[in-house]
Structure formats: C-alpha cells, structure tokens
Symmetry: C2
Subunit: 318 residues, 2 copies
C-alpha cells in the first residue's frame, strides 16, 4: 500500500520513545509529523531516525529507509503538527500534570475525529482525560522500549473511551506491524509491567535469599524459559507442556504452583543492600562505561531476532 | 575433542526426558548407556533419538547424527548400564518413593566415584538421598523440556552434597553445551519453575479478573518481554533499561513495582471456572487433536531459534 493512502499521524515529544514511534508509523506508510518543544531535540531526532532506519535495512527489516525518512517531517508548533492528522501519539514527561496539560491542548487543537493516544507507561488514561470534552477519543497506547524493535503495544482505554476508538487504534497499530493488545479494564502497570513485575519480584527474592546469583537467574530465563516465550506466550507454553493441554497441565501442576504462590506471597522491598548487591554484580559483569555499547548490542540482537522470527514464521509457521 | 576421551554416562529411564538427555551427552562426545525397565520403551527411544538427531542436523545444530547415535547403547540391566560410567542421569517416575528406590540402587551399584544426578523437577535431593552411604555424590540436575532443545539445567545439591561433585557436574554440563546454573540452597520448584510460577500466577489473575484475554497475555510476552528475555535475562534487561544501570532502574521504578507487589500478593487458586475458561480459549485457538502437531511446530521453532542464537552470538556477540 502506498503511503499516500494512509492516515497522517502526529508524534508529540521527540525523545527516545517519540522518535522510535515516528519510525513505526513512517515505515508502515503513514505521513508523520514530529513535534517537540525543544528544537534541538527535534533536530537530533531526525539524525537518530536516519541511523535507525539504515540499521533496520541492514538487518533485512526494511526495504527503503529513504522513503520512510521522507514521510517524516518536523513541525514548528503543536498546531502545525496536529493539522490534518487522524491519530496522535503523545510522549511527553511521565507526570500526571504534564499529561493533563498536553491532553487539554491536544483535545482543543486536533481535528475532532482524531484519536489521541498516550505512550504513558504508568499513568492511566482516566487520570488525565476525565474532564476533556473529547475524552471519548483518548486512550493509552503503551509501547515497549524501543517501539520500533519490540512490536507490543498495550491499548488501555479509560472507562469513557469510545470502543470504536479502541478498535480503530488497534487496527492502525496492527496494520503498521505492531502487536496491539487490549487492557480491558484499567489496572496499574497495564499487562506488560505487571507480568515483568511479578517475575522480577521473585527474581529479586531468589537473589536476596541466597538461592541463586543474578547471573544464574538471567541464564535460567535466556537459556530456558525465554526461548519458548520468544515465540509463544506463557499460556501456549503450558498448553503444550502436558499431553492433554492446559486443563491437564493445571490438573497436574496447580498444587505445586499453589505451594510456591503461598511462599511467594509476601511483598518484599527492593532495599538498599539488595540494590547495592545487584548493582555490584552487574557492574562486575558490565562496567558502567560500557552500558551504552551494550544497549547498542541489545538493539542489534533484537533486530536479528526479529528478522529470524519473521523468517521462521514464514518457513515453519506462526 | 574426540568421543573416546570423555567420560561415559548412564541415562536411567528412557521416557521423553531420558532419551533427550541421551542426545545431549552423545552429541557432546560422551558414550551413553541408556536403560529402562521396559524393553519396548528402550527400543522406542532409539527410534525417537534417531529422528531427533536428524532434525538437529537439518537445523544446523549437529554435524554428524550417525556418530552421535553410535555413541548410544542400550543396557539390559541396571548393572550393565552403570558399569564404568562417571556420571548418571536418572529419569524415573516423579514420586519420592520411586526416587528413593532408584537412588538406593544407583548408590549400591555405581562406581563410588560416579556422580548420581536426578532429573526431578519438584523433589529435592535431600528427600531421597539422606540415608545413602554415597549421599555426598548425589544431586538434582533438572532440565527443561526437552533438554536437547532448551539448554538450561538447574543443579540443586542437598546440604550434604560435596561441593566438588557440584563443580564436576557443572563442568560436565557446560562442556556438553548445556547451560548449568547453581541452586545454592534447596527451594521448592528450584529457580526455573519459581520464576515461571510467579509469572503464571499474575497471568492467571489478569485473565480471571477480566483485564486481558489469555491470547493478549501471550502476545505481551512473545511480542514484548520474551524478545529481550530470549537472549538476556531479566536483570540484564533492567540494567539496560535505565541510563545509569540497574541501581538507577531500581531507584526509578521500585515504587511502581512495590504498588504492584502489594496488589499481586494474595495467592489465588487456579479454580475450576478459570481452568475451564482457559481450556476453552485455548481449544478455540488450537483443537485438542492438533496438540501433537503444535508440539512438533514448537520443537522446530526452538531448533531454528537456537541456530539463530548461535549465529547471532558469533556475529553480534554474546
């Protein structure tokens, strides 16, 4: 499909999440208007986008970086950014006040039919849209980091969000190659961070109580659970791990997991000594001055993994 | 290293875990003696091993399936299986009584220097080795399913296991291309199932409380968290998700996760209605008569992922 037939999109806030969103929409054929209150941030974003688009091409994830780049333009004002767009992805500071302020402006300026979505990771839409005239068109669309390399996007509507708006947002993201899920009722942390938090809580306890090193916990995931979870979720994984499927799995293993749940129930603070022990173990493995290199390594590994998953889905099946 | 220079290994019990263990050791150059009380099971295992070795070759994970197969021989008796081996991997029924019985026999018959390891997933070594004369050479070496496609192995010694035995077991597994981790103190579920259990407990709650469908929880992992976890663990993931590393991440996000932990704390039974709802959603996605096909698909995807990880580690770095 050519870019011209797709709705224009505005990306508000050109930090790490913002410029990566611009890539997601532009590579899918949307014209993207990128805006930031900081002109230097906006200019820096264009350079970062160019590099990332070429990285995607080099990893077989994008055919034409120049065409994608050409779809992205910067806007000098919020009004200019919002003119004629059907979807807005907001990425400003993560405070309730900042979200309230920008959403009031977005709702005032944007075309009444435009969808207004926030990248917020921990502030629910009901906390910053309740009093807006256009609150029915507002929702959260929370990506992972970075969105152009991790396809998940969590759509979390407020109680007053129009279901048709959610459907349109889901269709737009799915058509753009993202993987949209629906958070049916608002919940702190949405789905992704609640799942991550549950696993982290246990991982922290295992290290704090001396059962395993952080390195061995990491191995247990990357050489164990994470392999299946990279292409199946936890439910499909257990569905295939008992001869009769998930009900059979539950019948067999619910008692074992119940005993664990009882032991795991007590919340535990991530206190100073544990924080310092983890920092110390990680800095032994990776000195602080190499964090940036390792993040670049992570992104290259993510791109290679995405290219692999695309090929495997085609050859072996999704 | 040629096969002849490596210690011989006995695999006791030739069910799914047993025959897959035979592959792990044989492809690494060990002579493997495979034993099962059931002669038909033993013969079936040889056929399954042959198929699996060729699958590994077809996926670029093994050069010479015939050479690996030639290192595996079956034994007609436990005595014959244990003669001359330096390491024993036990895979009999998962009950305390069955483990006590087989370990008493293993300790009586095997060479006194041989290591005796159990594949037990939920029975700690102290529950079936305490009274044995050779209890210092006994431990659990718990694999994932199937061990020839998922490299993790959890070494969980009893309080009386000789640390040198743990070191030798770890060296043997790592040299065989497995990824061995140490469970420093016995704990129900070891590390892997405790981490899986913590994530599953939250996943079950999210579905039970109507926040998300099982399908969307699965997407959140396979298109989100599971991508990073396929090549980094949860600690490295958060170490790279804040500018200043893991301590910075904890400083930023511990309050958010603490709020979640408090909400997540109450253990919840996986009761009949939830079990039935999950079974119903999964059977809509995958009819029961296709479970076997899908398990074969999973194994092909795992092999392709392992081949990808091997190539990516070489090209991009581990």
């Amino acid at each position: 499909m050519s870019g011209g037939t797709k709705d224009a999109v505005a990306v508000i806030g050109a930090g790490l999440i913002g410029w990566a969103w611009a890539i997601c929409f532009a590579r899918a054929g949307h014209a993207v208007k990128l805006y930031d209150v900081s002109q230097p941030a906006l200019e820096a974003a264009l350079g970062l986008i160019e590099t990332a688009l070429h990285d995607l091409r080099d990893n077989g994830l994008l055919d034409d970086p120049a065409a994608a780049q050409a779809r992205i333009s910067t806007a000098a004002t919020l009004e200019e950014a919002l003119a004629g767009v059907a979807y807005v992805q907001e990425n400003v500071r993560e405070t309730v006040e900042a979200k309230q302020e920008i959403f009031a402006a977005l709702d005032r300026i944007a075309d009444p039919a435009a969808i207004l979505a926030s990248s917020s990771s921990n502030i629910r839409a009901s906390l910053f849209t309740e009093t807006l005239p256009g609150r029915a068109r507002c929702l959260v669309a929370h990506p992972a980091n970075p969105p152009h390399l991790v396809p998940i996007v969590e759509l979390s509507p407020a109680p007053w969000t129009d279901p048709a708006v959610v459907d349109r947002a889901r269709a737009l993201h799915d058509a753009a190659g993202m993987s949209a899920i629906l958070v049916r009722r608002e919940v702190p942390g949405f789905i992704l961070n609640r799942l991550q938090g549950a696993l982290l809580a246990e991982a922290f306890k295992l290290v704090a109580d001396g059962y395993a090193s952080a390195e061995d916990v990491d191995k247990t995931i990357k050489d164990g659970l994470g392999l299946r979870w990279a292409f199946m979720g936890p439910f499909e994984t257990i569905d295939l791990n008992a001869p009769g499927g998930i009900a059979d799995y539950i019948d067999r293993y619910a008692p074992m997991y119940w005993d664990m749940q009882e032991m795991q129930a007590t919340p535990r603070r991530w206190d100073e000594p544990l924080r310092d022990a983890l920092e110390s173990e990680r800095r032994d493995a990776l000195p602080a001055d190499r964090l940036g290199d390792r993040q670049a390594w992570r992104d290259r590994r993510l791109m290679a993994l995405l290219a692999h998953k695309r090929a495997a889905a085609k050859e072996i099946g999704e």
